[in-house]
Structures are given as C-alpha cells and as structure tokens.
C-alpha cells in the first residue's frame, strides 16, 4: 500500500472491529468500562492501551489519528477540536513565560491575535520577520526561541516560504519548525520530507470533506530531538521520540480539554477518503479561475501561486509540483467595488472558511482582520481592495460565469 489515495481509502486500523465492519464505527460515547478495578488503574497510569474517557481518547478519534499518521508518514498525531486548538495546544506545550516564537506578520488573523492578544500577557513574545528573507532568522533566534512558526501558503497574502531553507537555518540553532499546512495537507506537501518538525492544520478545511465539521491536527514528524526543548527534557528522557505527543496527550491536551468530537472524527475520516479527488479538482479550478481573472481586464491584480506571474511561483512549483492550492486573491479598485462585486455573485457564497466544496468569497480587511488598525493591516498585507476566493469543486465554467457576470455588473 504505497499510493496516497489507496492509503486514504483503506487506512490501517490498530484494532479489528469485532463485527468486521468495513467502516470503523462511530463510538459516540463518553466513558468506557474496564474489566476490573486493576485494569482501570492501568489505563489511567498509561500502562494499558484502553480508552477511559472521550475528552482524552476515543476509538473513533484514535482511528482518525492513525489514518492521518499513515498519510503524513509522521511519528504521532493528536486530533483536537480546531486548527486554533492545534496551534494553541502546541505552543503551550513547548513554550513558557519569557520565551519567544519566531514568526511572520503574514499569519491567519486569529493566529496573530493568539500571539499578540492572548499569549503575550502570559509572557510569551512573538518575533516577526519576513520569511522570504531567511537571513533575518539569524538575527532574531536566540536561546529563548522555542519554535519558528509559519504557514505553508500565507493567508491571504499567498506568500510561499522556502520551507527547506527555513528548516536548514532552524537546524543550526536546534529550534523546531512548526508549519501550518492547512492549505496543502500531506497530499500536496509532505512536510517531513522538507525537514518540518511539527505540522499543524485545520482539518475543518480540505480534510473535513466539504465543511462538514470543525477539527484540528498536530502531527509530530519525528525529526526533532525534544531533549533540546527545555520544557520537554523530562518527557524526552522518559518517552524518547514520543516526548511531544506524550506531553500533549498526558498533560496539556488533556488539561485544556480541546478534544475533537467523535462525530467530527468520523466525518473527517470520511473526508480523508476523497481528499485527493477534491484537492485535484479545486486546484485545477483555482488555476483556471486565476487565469481567467488575469486576462479578463476587469481586476487590478491577481495572486495565485500557480500563476507564472506570482512572485512565489518558482518556490511553489519546487515544493508543490503541479498543485498550488484552492485559494487565490484579487484586487478591485476599492472596498465599495469589492462589496458590489460580492453582492453581484449568484453562485459563489459570501462566507468565511477555506477549501469547502463550494466556492466562497470574503473581503478579509473588513472581516477576519477587522480588529486591526489600518497600519497593522498594511503590515499584514491586507488591503481594502483585496478579495479572497476559496475555489471549490463545482464545474469551473459555472464559477467563471458567475465571476464574469458580476464583474460586468460592477
């Protein structure tokens, strides 16, 4: 079983279903009984692989984690309640007051808010650089740096950092690289092969199968030696390569309670089976739509990593081969024009979210980034004239017709 799609369909279950069900059942239960008091004690101590309580482990969630682990070829996976839960749980596991995370202002708005608004008062600082200039890493990494955090394709700037080079520099300082791989998933980009220590993602997006459910993933690629992370030294001595996953499962994730619902795990397992088909379609649609926008003469600019005109095309091509994701942006004259265009659409939905089966459009400056000042928005590359399109899996002619008719109206 080598191919991604074959693995996605068949998976590799740890436990055999007692009835031979071809689809791993949904265990929508809170608690699990033990045969004896001693067995329950062993389960609590981590000495027996038994489920006790669904906030911590659950058979359907375990099956989902194992399937993701197989596809990502990672060491261990922790499924959580959302992409933001993945980021916050991971940062709280590896960083402490007085330490810092090196990142960029080209971040998802809520991730920036987590760092600047939620975690800063607890003593964690973020050091911002331009990830396209890796020399800056040498200037900001210090002995208090606990990770470099970045997104595989920044949202909504659509910058594509050179992941291999960033991981190489991080290696010089023994600092782990955390990558938010939401927009690519292991189908497009196998982060382990590029040296990424841990990948996080919102499984709400591509993986959920069409915006069926909210979820997140933390995938430890098994590359980083966690003895080099001060907060994980003890865990590394006890659990070796499993230090991070164990610290999460037995402490941080357990205590924070950001568990995935078993029902969502079931839906997302279904989503995994068709992941490659949907990504192929959305990527080819996004390329076609971006080519249309580039030549229609009605927009100020178009940005899509798959276009040769994209500043990041060569890096994207080297990392993603022929699939550049389902997200593109374009600019009209101003905010009013953007709103008029959005309101003229008949098929494309005005909604946030990414990588739904449906094509979605949003004006980032007035929504995801509404809490920031004009100066902060400018630093984050979010202008009032920018629209973000998440291209779905409809027939591409229908998507283009909808855009065309609304542009004509504008």
């Amino acid at each position: 079983m080598k191919g991604f799609s074959t693995k996605a369909v068949h998976g590799k279950s740890l436990r055999k279903d007692p009835h031979g069900a071809l689809r791993f059942p949904l265990y929508d239960a809170v608690a699990f009984e033990s045969e004896s008091a001693r067995d329950l004690q062993l389960a609590f101590e981590g000495r027996k692989p038994a489920h006790t309580y669904s906030r911590i482990t659950n058979p359907s969630i375990e099956d989902f984690e194992q399937r993701v682990n197989l596809l990502a070829e990672s060491l261990g996976v922790v499924a959580v309640s959302s992409g933001m839960a993945a980021i916050s749980n991971l940062i709280l596991t590896i960083a402490e007051a007085g330490s810092n995370i090196v990142t960029t202002k080209f971040l998802f708005g809520n991730t920036y808010s987590l760092l600047e608004t939620t975690l800063k008062p607890w003593g964690l600082t973020a050091r911002y650089i331009n990830m396209e200039d890796t020399d800056q890493l040498h200037r900001v990494i210090n002995e208090k740096t606990r990770a470099i955090f970045l997104e595989i394709i920044t949202n909504p700037q659509l910058q594509v950092p050179d992941i291999r080079e960033i991981c190489r520099v991080a290696g010089e300082y023994a600092v782990p690289v955390i990558l938010d791989g939401t927009l690519t998933t292991p189908y497009i980009f196998k982060s382990k092969d590029f040296g990424v220590s841990v990948e996080v993602m919102s499984s709400t997006k591509y993986i959920s199968g069409g915006a069926t459910s909210v979820g997140g993933l933390i995938m430890d690629n098994g590359i980083f030696d966690w003895e080099k992370c001060p907060k994980l030294v003890d865990s590394a001595r006890k659990y070796g390569e499993f230090a991070l996953v164990t610290k999460l499962k037995r402490e941080v994730f357990r205590n924070l309670g950001a568990c995935l619902s078993p029902h969502n795990a079931y839906l997302q397992t279904l989503g995994l089976e068709t992941l490659s088909l949907r990504i192929d379609k959305s990527c080819s649609n996004a390329l076609r739509v971006s080519q249309y926008l580039e030549t229609c003469g009605k927009v100020r600019s178009v940005n899509y990593p798959g276009l040769k005109s994209s500043r990041c095309h060569e890096v994207a091509k080297a990392q993603f081969k022929d699939k550049f994701g389902g997200i593109l942006t374009f600019e009209l004259e101003n905010k009013d024009r953007c709103y008029a265009f959005m309101d003229g659409l008949r098929l494309i939905k005005r909604a946030t979210n990414l990588n739904d089966n449906k094509t979605l459009i949003i004006h980032p400056a007035s929504t995801i980034f509404c809490e920031y000042s004009p100066e902060e928005k400018a630093a984050m590359g979010v202008s009032d004239s920018l629209l973000r399109l998440s291209v779905g899996i409809e027939d591409v002619e229908d998507i283009i017709e909808d855009i065309h008719l609304s542009l004509e109206g504008v």
Partner: protein, 70 residues
C-alpha cells in the same frame, strides 16, 4: 529472573532474555503504540532486540494514548 514489570513483580523464565523477548512473552498490546522504559530510561525500538535484561530490572510499558480522566 525476577523483574518488576509495570509496577508488579514478574518471574521471567528466560535467563538471557532481551526486551523483545519480554514484549513477546507478555503479549504486549499494540506494540507500535508503546514506549518502553528500562530502569526509568527510554529505550529506542531498534534497541529492543539487543537490550539484555538483568535481575531486578524495572520495565515499564507505557502508552501515550492514556493519561487519566474524569
């Protein structure tokens, strides 16, 4: 040979046993999910076959999936 396995005294007949022998003898569940500690120190999977057990060794088979609950 007398060992302590997961906190309990365990008599192991094989006098020149390795960790892998103990894993098999105990029929450890889900071996791909287990972390093995020998006298408090983590043992890498690739070392199981070459790690010899000694009298009074303490062995722990631990799973990262579990960790207490409500």
């Amino acid at each position: 040979m007398k060992l302590k396995v997961n906190g309990e005294i365990y008599a192991f007949e094989n006098a020149s046993a390795t960790l892998i022998d103990l894993l098999r003898e105990r029929e450890v569940e889900l071996p791909e999910m287990v972390s093995v500690q020998l006298n408090g120190a983590f043992v890498k999977k690739e070392s199981y076959a070459s790690t010899r057990l000694e009298e009074n060794d303490e062995v722990e088979f631990l799973y990262f999936m579990a960790g207490g609950g409500a």
